[in-house]
Point group: none
DNA sequence: TTCATAAATGTATAATTATTTAGATTTCGG
DNA sequence: CCGAAATCTAAATAATTATACATTTATGAA
């Protein structure tokens, strides 16, 4: 596997469809896909992807991707919110973000944000055409932007 | 600290209101609260609580509680709000606190907060299932937590 | 109470994961 | 091209976290 971007993509796909309990395990799965790297690199990759290690109820551990990385809809579909151009703008002030929408759309879009961006966002409060987004601590503006782009992009 | 349940509660509260990057760090915070345990026990506690370790965008790591064990209530309460499990979580970001509730409950609970916590809280803004709580200057997170515990878990 | 059993914990250590360091590779502006 | 700067990586190591094992502590039935 040639480059980094490619590798990150492969890692993402593996984690989406498997229970992976350790980096060594993931290393092996990667090597089966012709991705030969060391644990050090993998650790950095996981950090980059913000992959969390979480305990499961069965006593094992699992690496999980941040939820915004998961597909919202199946392949080839489009996001109605975006298709209708319901999101008009996204701006920041201090630690807060404000999303402007077409009238009436705020609640619906806020619901999507709440559900897809739990890792970045503490909560949202929606009016009729405005959403106040409260990011978690340590989450940067770029992270919010990225999340919004992924969550509301038309392709995937 | 006497028993395990108690300790788990303390751990939960610490993780809810602080960025904790390692178990050692958490151990120290626990010892400040008269909770003297070893790293081994802590590791087991975190596994029990299903606390995940996740990378932040600032390059550090953070232990995060699973969203479903965020309830702040204690057992055996008589407050209707809590009795119905209407309050789902309480988290902080910067100077703000965010309370998540069951759908439709936010306004009612916000009213309670406004009226019972005037001393700690400047005001609240409620959506449908989210309340933004703006603490007064100088009010600490622990104060808010305590206020919420008292307001929503005492017999009336 | 007393014994049996289960639960909880600490110690020591294994296992795992993060990072430092140094070197390789790529990129980009002359 | 050339070299500087940035990016990427492996190897070694440091740091952190999980667990095997031993011991203690709680629980409960007779």
């Amino acid at each position: 596997m040639k480059n980094k971007r490619n590798r990150l993509q492969v890692i993402t796909e593996i984690l989406r469809s498997n229970v992976v309990s350790s980096q060594d395990e993931l290393l092996k799965m990667l090597s089966e896909k012709q991705c030969l790297i060391t644990q050090a690199t993998l650790s950095r990759d996981l950090k980059l992807l913000k992959v969390a290690k979480t305990p499961l109820s069965n006593g094992a551990y699992k690496y999980i991707l941040p939820s915004y990385n998961k597909p919202i809809l199946s392949e080839g579909t489009f996001n109605p919110m975006v298709a209708h151009g319901a999101i008009l703008s996204l701006e920041f002030s201090g630690q807060l973000a404000v999303v402007k929408t077409k009238p009436g759309y705020a609640s619906a879009i806020a619901w999507d944000i709440d559900n897809k961006a739990n890792q970045q966002v503490l909560g949202t409060i929606a009016g009729d055409d405005t959403i106040l987004v409260i990011p978690r601590e340590g989450v940067r503006r770029e992270d919010i932007l990225e999340m919004m782009n992924i969550t509301f992009s038309e392709k995937e």
